[in-house]
């Protein structure tokens, strides 16, 4: 048996993220002959003497022209032990929203640091965004060790600097430090021979061994209703009264016969049947997409949440304290009404107050009137209708939301719930 680990690479521009992924794919034999052939040709056309492994992931025309990564590239590889989904995130500040996209689904982040540059503002910003997005494992990959003669001193300096920053920023993710050379392939998949002073695992060994956390810490049964199935087929009278609630179990498990509560209304009933594709199941657990049928004919629709009556109830609230990553080009306008989507529920939202913005350069809380592109800040949000919420650190599914602009439909912010009123 093998599982799936979603991880991302991030860090400043030119710290070698795309090269690292190219190296991982190349050394795990996940690059196909014709792909490699294409990259070889492209490298030659650019007058390079060796294959530029970063070309394996930089796929857009503009990216190749500029030699940078604009958007997240997803790559897939597996070793005998695990399947991996890599999200290669862009380093430029301008494309932070794409980095946040990658971070939201990652269980581990490889934060690249150029050993010669040390920590930059963008390194700190990405570390904070990883923290905001609740990524439990952080690997600080100190890259370009080949350019400092594989000397342990500058590596140790980066490690010390990051630990100081981590304490300041109160990072909760577990941290591992690896000296690597993505270009030469040292300590990525192969150990190489140039850093005998480093005794820890290679990057691949870390990736293969960290516990994956699809479900996070949450253990109670949570089932946001996605879609109501009412077949009402004229030719099949047995389906006339059929009513199924389709959704994905975000945490916990449920079995036929369990007593359940439908939130936010608080109605109670029991689970009559659990089905998938019209076939009966006896139980459903976290990560499964199923259809639930309930004993009583209740008013249940998309956006409602089914939970087990014998487990702790989540909060039902119309006022949130949340951390926002503002992603739109235009600033947050506290006078406007935004759309808020959390689980399968949509309500209207107003930002009542901005408590502070994190100043990434100084690591201080700054008083501000608005948030602009790529800002991270704490806000108070008022909602037009109640949502069923948990704290993000307890439950990544119920604690996350997006804000969208009702005029354009565009996603303007990602938010994580910290508290409620």
């Amino acid at each position: 048996m093998s599982d799936v680990l979603r991880f991302m690479t991030c860090g400043s521009v030119d710290d070698g993220k795309s090269t690292l992924i190219g190296r991982l794919l190349y050394d795990t034999r996940a690059v196909l002959v014709d792909t490699l052939e294409g990259v070889r040709h492209a490298s030659e056309r650019r007058g390079l003497s060796r294959i530029d492994l970063s070309l394996l992931t930089d796929g857009l025309i503009a990216e190749r022209e500029q030699g940078i990564t604009i958007d997240v590239a997803y790559r897939y590889f597996s070793t005998g032990r695990r399947n991996f989904i890599i999200a290669d995130a862009p380093g430029h500040e301008q494309y932070t929203r794409n980095m946040v996209t990658a971070a939201s689904t990652a269980e581990l982040a490889v934060l690249m640091v150029d050993v010669r540059q040390g920590l930059t503002t963008q390194t700190r910003r990405h570390a904070l965004l990883c923290e905001l997005m609740g990524i439990p494992h952080l690997v600080i990959a100190v890259n370009k060790m080949d350019l400092v003669g594989y000397d342990p001193e500058p590596f140790a300096a980066v490690q010390a600097a990051f630990e100081t920053f981590a304490a300041q920023a109160q990072l909760r993710a577990d941290r591992r430090y690896l000296p690597i050379s993505a270009l030469e392939g040292e300590m990525v998949v192969e150990r190489g021979e140039r850093m005998p002073w480093y005794q820890g695992p290679t990057l691949l060994e870390v990736l293969e061994s960290v516990p994956s956390a699809h479900t996070g810490k949450a253990e109670s049964f949570r089932f946001p209703v996605q879609w109501v199935c009412r077949p009402q087929a004229a030719d099949d009278p047995t389906l006339h009264d059929y009513r199924g609630y389709a959704g994905m179990v975000t945490s916990g498990s449920v079995a036929v016969g369990d007593a359940v509560t439908v939130l936010p209304a608080g109605l109670t009933t029991t689970v009559q049947a659990i089905e998938l594709g019209g076939q009966p199941l006896t139980a459903a657990r976290a990560g499964q997409s199923v259809m639930l049928r309930l004993q009583d004919d209740l008013d249940v629709s998309r956006g409602d949440m089914i939970v087990r009556s014998d487990e702790p109830m989540p909060a039902v609230t119309r006022a949130l304290v949340a951390d926002l990553a503002w992603l739109a080009n235009g600033p947050l306008d506290p006078r406007r009404v935004y759309g808020l989507r959390q689980t399968t529920r949509e309500v209207k939202a107003k930002i009542e107050a901005i408590a502070y913005r994190w100043d990434v350069a100084t690591m201080r809380r700054a008083d501000v009137d608005t948030l602009t592109a790529n800002d991270i800040g704490r806000v108070r949000v008022k909602l037009s209708a109640p949502i069923v919420a948990e704290r993000y650190e307890e439950d990544r599914a119920l604690g996350a939301f997006i804000l969208f602009d009702p005029a354009t439909g565009d996603t303007v912010a990602g938010g994580v719930i910290r508290e409620w009123a």
Binding site: M1, S2, D3, V4, L32, V33, D34, T35, G38, A42, T57, G59, L60, I61, A62, R64, D71, V72, A73, Y74, R75, Y76, N83, I85, R97, N98, V100, T101, S104, T105, Q226, W227, C229, P231, A233, L239, Y242, G244, A246, M248, L276, G277, G278, G287, Q288, S289, R302, R341, T344, R396, A397, A400, F401, I402, F404, P406, G409, D410, T411, G414
Partner: protein, 316 residues
């Protein structure tokens, strides 16, 4: 599960299991979730069904997502008129068997209307599909099209969101994609725009074959090894058909081949193979060292970024 007449036998020998249920269950649950998001968020969605292996998987996923109800969307195929007849017969049989509505719109009609103009009669109609597709979107008012594209197919696709926006001209703007956070897929759009939704974005070619094996899905016969007259052009094999006659001086020879994708006859090349069962194809795919589009698409060879250019123009 019911199968059509075009099914090839699935081996029942006691060989080691060729797939890992944990991985397939994870991918399946995610795809079902995405299909249901489409059903819930859009007024007039449609599922693009070509008869190809990826869209065959989509149909099984839709059964799991929506049964015992009918699919909350019709199936749509944009027919270039240059498809293999086995595939078209399979397409119709499968839609019939599922009892779902199939809408076919053809490039031929767009040519007749004058909205598609060919440079020469035998020109590949592959890129002209986007015109016919946009015409169908307008005709039916579709606000979301579900497709079977995968991120492992090609570099530009590797960057595409699960819910991917298209403007009124069907264009994709890769430099201005929306953020897509967690699994909170955002289906809100501007008027006249639509969304393309890709439920199997995170599947690899091997995952698709493993799913076909596990679910015992029927496929058009040309996916399995058979003898076919071909000519060799560089690294690729070109099938000889009435639409693709041999060029002067080319030697036609019978070759054991199978198709890895089943697109337009003029631009889909088979690969040499003796794999006559799904299980044999899985073994072959696991060992193969050529990626799917590179081995089989005669029109992707021309430019480093040709897929991105076609996608910008509204291609699927």
């Amino acid at each position: 599960m019911s199968e059509t007449t075009m099914t090839r036998t699935h081996q029942t020998a006691t060989e080691p299991q060729l797939w890992d249920d944990e991985t397939l269950d994870w991918l399946e649950a995610e795809a079902i979730y995405i299909l249901r998001e489409v059903a819930a968020q859009f007024q007039r969605p449609a599922l693009l069904f070509s008869g190809g292996k990826d869209s065959v998987c989509l149909l099984r996923l839709a059964e799991k997502a929506f049964r015992p109800a009918r699919f909350p969307f019709p199936l749509v195929h944009i027919d270039t008129g240059h498809n293999y007849p086995e595939v078209i017969a399979f397409r119709d049989a499968r839609a019939e068997e599922l009892g779902e509505r199939l809408i076919v719109r053809s490039v031929e009609d767009s040519i007749r209307r004058g909205t598609v103009r060919l440079a020469h009669p035998l020109e590949s109609r592959n890129r002209h599909q986007s015109v016919t597709l946009l015409e169908a979107i307008e005709e039916f008012g579709f606000d979301c099209l579900i497709g079977g594209a995968r991120r492992d197919e090609e570099k530009a696709r590797a960057k595409e969101r699960v819910f991917s926006l298209r403007d009124e001209f069907g264009q994709w703007d890769p430099k201005a994609q929306r953020p897509e956070l967690w699994n909170l897929y955002n289906g809100h759009t501007r008027p006249g725009w639509h969304v393309r939704a890709f439920p199997i974005s995170n599947w690899t070619e091997l995952d698709v074959w493993r799913y076909i094996a596990r679910e015992r899905l029927a496929l058009p016969s040309i996916y399995f090894a058979h003898e076919r007259p071909c000519v060799r052009r560089g690294r690729l094999l070109a099938p000889v058909t009435p639409l693709t006659p041999p060029k002067e001086g080319e030697v036609v020879e019978p070759v054991w081949v199978r198709f890895r994708t089943v697109g337009d006859m003029t631009c889909t090349a088979p690969v040499e193979s003796r794999a006559t069962t799904v299980e044999a194809i899985i073994r072959e795919t696991a060992e193969t060292m050529i990626s799917e589009r590179g081995a089989t698409r005669l029109d992707d060879q021309t430019h480093e970024a040709s897929m991105e250019q076609r996608k910008r123009e509204g291609y699927f």
